[in-house]
């Protein structure tokens, strides 16, 4: 099907000569086909390439005999419990267990969840007197220990690691959870469920 080109001026339309077919071709089916193919390729392409989060496990074989002491003030422990609950405490586990309000629970909420807790801790560490919270390379010395119980899910672990990237925490580690901490999680979970 060809479009009849209208030529209102009629310039050059000489009588007697046989009419030339218009060179215009209807491209609609071609466009249809092209869009069909585009749709196909769009749906089969994976445009968003998966991203990789680098993770380094601590060396368990060559543990230094006398590891340098870590100030309790810069340490924060995040415990991953089931049902997307995050528990955390500051300082040593013994102190936290002794204090009735030592273990707090929070969520993965963007505004008021674990992110805010980590950022607040970072600020508090930076404000420590005598520059205790800042090392020679001007890094914030906040140290986050991540421990998860077996019944928590992998997604939560990645979420916390992501928070480490967001808060730019230089020192963090995934550690095995200890028995007292497991009990802590169990007890705190009971409280959370009761609420």
């Amino acid at each position: 099907m060809a479009e009849i080109a209208e030529n209102p001026q009629g310039g050059g339309g000489k009588k007697g000569r046989s009419k030339k077919p218009s060179p215009r071709v209807d491209l609609t089916p071609m466009v249809d086909l092209a869009f069909l193919l585009i749709t196909f390729f769009m749906l089969t392409t994976s445009l968003s390439k998966p991203k990789a989060m680098e993770i380094a496990l601590p060396d368990t074989e060559n543990i230094p005999v006398d590891p340098p002491p870590v100030d309790d003030d810069v340490v924060m422990t995040v415990l991953l419990a089931p049902k997307n609950v995050v528990l955390y405490y500051f300082g040593s586990p013994e102190k936290a267990a002794a204090d009735p309000n030592g273990i707090k629970s929070t969520t993965f909420d963007k505004e008021s969840g674990i992110r805010k807790v980590i950022l607040d801790k970072k600020k508090a560490v930076a404000a420590l007197p005598n520059g205790l919270g800042i090392d020679s390379k001007k890094n914030n010395k906040t140290m986050v220990l991540i421990k998860a119980v077996d019944s928590s899910v992998y997604g939560n672990m990645v979420d916390v690691l992501d928070e480490m990237h967001i808060a730019d925490i230089k020192f963090y580690a995934i550690l095995p959870i200890s028995e007292p901490e497991k009990t802590l999680v169990d007890n705190s979970m009971k409280k959370v469920v009761q609420k």
Binding site: D26, P50, K51, M53, A56, P58, F108, D150, D159
Partner: protein
């Protein structure tokens, strides 16, 4: 007074421009298209803000699905998968040499079964394969009992087949942490203390 007759324009629209655009887009999509790799089970990776892309080659994939089943895969660069199969044959005392089994292994992407089921799986028809994927328990990775830890041999032989390969763990959001812990422990025992966790980009909700 006669009505003013508005001259009707032609109903035809010039499609040339549209055609140009659509073919341009088509070309773009064809050139950037990369077929999604075949995956036996659906795995929803957690999201994160990191922006390091996963390399295309030299990757050993350890997949953990929602139910906590472990599967392994590796890309086939310089015949690495053939070497991997040879290694596994020796390791698990299997005899996978039939051409169709070998072909299935080499082009199989992530292998969704354990070593014991592997020969049957590779020889099976598509329907039977689907069934096996549904019922399999994956590769056992019990860290407490190193004899029962089959995963370490899969990893060991994969790394022997391609020494440049990096290990990527592709876990489902809902995978139980206990299984991930087993995988990490196993990797650690193999001397792989650096690896990647595969995530998709985007903010979580």
């Amino acid at each position: 007074m006669p009505k003013i007759q508005v001259k009707k324009g032609s109903v035809f629209v010039d499609m040339t421009a549209m055609c140009d655009v659509s073919f341009l887009l088509l070309t773009f999509f064809i050139l950037t298209a990369k077929a999604k790799p075949m995956e036996p089970v659906e795995v929803m990776t957690p999201s994160s803000i990191v922006e390091i892309p996963v390399p295309d080659v030299n990757v050993i994939t350890i997949m953990v699905d929602k139910a906590g089943r472990i599967f392994m895969g590796m890309d086939n660069v310089d015949g690495a998968r053939q070497r991997w199969l040879d290694n596994l044959n020796t390791q698990f005392k299997m005899n996978i040499t039939a051409p169709n089994q070998v072909n299935n292994f080499i082009n199989g992407g992530v292998i969704p079964v354990s070593a014991k089921e592997l020969p049957t799986f590779l020889a099976a028809e598509a329907e039977a394969k689907k069934k096996m994927i549904e019922t399999t328990k994956g590769i056992p990775a019990d860290v407490e009992n190193s004899d029962a830890n089959e995963l370490r041999w899969w990893i060991y032989n994969a790394r022997a087949a391609n020494q440049k390969a990096v290990v990527v763990v592709k876990g489902d959001k809902k995978a139980p942490y206990a299984i991930i812990k087993q995988v990490m422990k196993t990797l650690e025992k193999q001397g792989v203390s650096r690896f990647s966790l595969l995530t998709s980009q985007g903010s979580r909700d």
